[in-house]
Symmetry: C2
Subunit: 381 residues, 2 copies
């Protein structure tokens, strides 16, 4: 449809691979990490800040933009790229997960999902066709099908019915899809049940999509179970299409995903942590509010080349955070996003140079203990 | 001491003049407007944003920086310029007004002012010498003497005693002042009493300062009384030194001040208004949250060349404000600060070209009705 995916190299030691995805708004290198710009802005950053931090593709949330300012408003203004001033690739989710995690009075019916807005309580009915219509109006480069996200934990029966509904909705989505130059990804559900995941994947590949996403993970299950599910599923995913692991994750989980063959990630960790004052560095996380940084002249991470690290000391950042100054959130977010972009760049280089093991060892030292459990909603609200 | 002031041209039709002030961190053109960077940051903006908006000199608040992170911390980190990454001129106030307007349990004694921190209730005693010591540690380019700000309204007796104390403190400040390359301004008090203002000014010029500020205005009195006081006082101020009208003001008041011979202004109006969603334009103020801008593709002000107006529509700005997105405050502040910088540039050009009258007429149309009364604290907290 609207996507070119070129695999540049496959690792010999793992399923890791590097590639290039071409979209209507330019290419992005894979494995890729997408910062989350829930309401048509990656919180605290301008598009110029994103470029400066090395970002190539961002994710925006359909649910939020549908409610405010409305997809028709954005369409009238020339689409999401024009609206927010970001001319690079954008992936929009389908809204399914947000309806599940944010809205009130959610009721899943065969035709779609009935829900109340978390903003004003107004009632809405999301169907697979409406999710496509909204995303076409937004004009994103990659759209996602509406899926049925089961809760976690859930019974086999619930997971099974979710898979069947997800497949029926995927079919409707594919039929509804009309916009040239916009790719469409299917989403594999099935909770932690191996056979259901396989069944869902088979159904989706039969319908045929530009890429395949793994949904319903990072919703509260422990990392071990998550990785086991991925280990089973990923080898069966079509190698010629991009594979996208939704809502993941920490540097450690990203690296694990890459080794299993994941090409795309998104997560609110860098942006949300930045607003909390938790900054990622090559020596681990740093709580910049800590009094130990009061007179620390060093940049946040001396090995980092981001705008924040090139221009400001830890002492100044700490002062801004402690004083709740708005500049704090921008500078912290620039750094954390740049850290993730730099991580992806290093991962791609390591795959190219066949030394992912060395990078893995290094990263396991930094991040081994810091997996983030619990529900990370896939939007940055 | 640390200042060169060169008057480039005096208007024939008014007392307006254009000039250049040279400081240890470069020059700034007058009449000048100083955005307020209370806590070592002009709220929501980076130093690069300030430069981009045309800012030449900023004001920082001694009271706030003394309390947090502490002047000694900033001194240890190389001074305020180094700390916040702004290499242009900085004026610091003396803290007197903030002690008056923000702190608890304030008690003015002959030696200084006893007060409790608005942050944690800790007790402090500000003396003229301490105010100098703090500002020398901060390393600002222009320091202000500690003054006794009387409340408004106040009796003649209270205003008189405030003037006498202000003069005694000014003398102590001058004696305490030691740092090379840092200028010191005296502050004229006297409430709305013409003879007290004159007495204060005479006392200050006798001591001798690098510049003279007018304090104790914009504290609740009406604009008419404020302007009348200025009209009496300004012709008596030494023409060879910069004149600084503290805490003023609206575009209309700035233009009135310029015509009376004021060289420097500061005010929180552009920055605070921006955070409230009130944006200045060549056609008057605009409340960007208003639903009429929902699909408005135009920039905030089509005649403006700021980063915000060059890159974003009113519709996008409105969406950011309505969604309470952090980027809103930065983009709005950039625009409002650029508007004030552009206003000053136009004022200087009009003085040069002897057509201040035309600009005045134009500005009176835009701003005639929009004087802002009430207490505008001289910090942006």
């Amino acid at each position: 449809m609207g996507l070119g995916f070129e695999i540049k190299k496959c690792s010999k030691d793992s399923r890791a691979r590097i590639g290039l995805v071409r979209t209507s708004h330019g290419p992005f290198a894979t494995p890729a990490f997408m910062p989350v710009g829930t309401q048509a802005t990656v919180k605290a950053l301008s598009p110029h800040d994103l470029r400066g931090a090395g970002v190539e593709i961002i994710l925006c949330n359909t649910y939020h933009l549908y409610l405010r300012p409305g997809h028709k408003v954005i369409g009238e203004l020339g689409g999401l790229h024009q609206f927010m001033g970001w001319n690079g690739p954008i992936l929009t989710d389908s809204g399914g997960f947000q309806v599940y995690s944010l809205s009130k009075l959610r009721k899943i019916e065969e035709e779609g999902i009935l829900f109340q807005s978390h903003l004003d309580g107004s009632r809405h009915f999301f169907t697979p066709r409406l999710a496509i219509e909204i995303q076409e109006e937004l004009g994103s480069d990659i759209a996602m099908v509406l899926d049925d996200c089961p809760p976690y934990p859930c019974t086999y029966e619930r997971a099974k019915s979710s898979v069947m509904r997800t497949l029926r909705w995927a079919e409707s989505s594919k039929e509804a899809k009309g916009l040239e130059g916009q790719a469409l990804f299917g989403i594999v559900q099935g909770s932690l049940f191996r056979d259901l995941r396989e069944e869902c994947l088979k159904g989706l590949t039969k319908i045929g999509f530009d890429g395949y996403a793994i949904g319903g993970l990072a919703v509260g299950e422990d990392v071990g179970k998550r990785l086991a599910t991925l280990r089973d599923l990923l080898p069966q995913m079509p190698p010629e299409s991009p594979r996208y692991l939704m809502g993941v994750g920490t540097p450690y989980e990203i690296l694990e995903g890459v080794k299993m063959g994941v090409d795309m990630f998104d997560c609110v960790i860098p942006t949300r942590n930045a607003r909390n004052g938790t900054l990622f560095t090559s020596l681990g996380k740093l709580n910049i509010r800590n009094s130990q940084y009061k007179t620390d002249k060093r940049p946040c991470d001396p090995t980092c080349n981001c705008y924040t690290c090139k221009n400001y000391s830890r002492a100044y950042l700490r002062h801004l955070y402690v004083s709740k100054e708005l500049l704090a959130y921008r500078l912290g977010t620039i750094h954390n996003v740049a850290f993730f972009m730099n991580l992806m760049e290093r991962i791609r280089r390591a795959i190219m140079e066949e030394n992912l093991g060395a990078l893995e060892e290094e990263i396991s030292i930094y991040f081994g203990q810091e997996d983030e459990h619990g529900l990370l909603s896939l939007c940055d609200g």
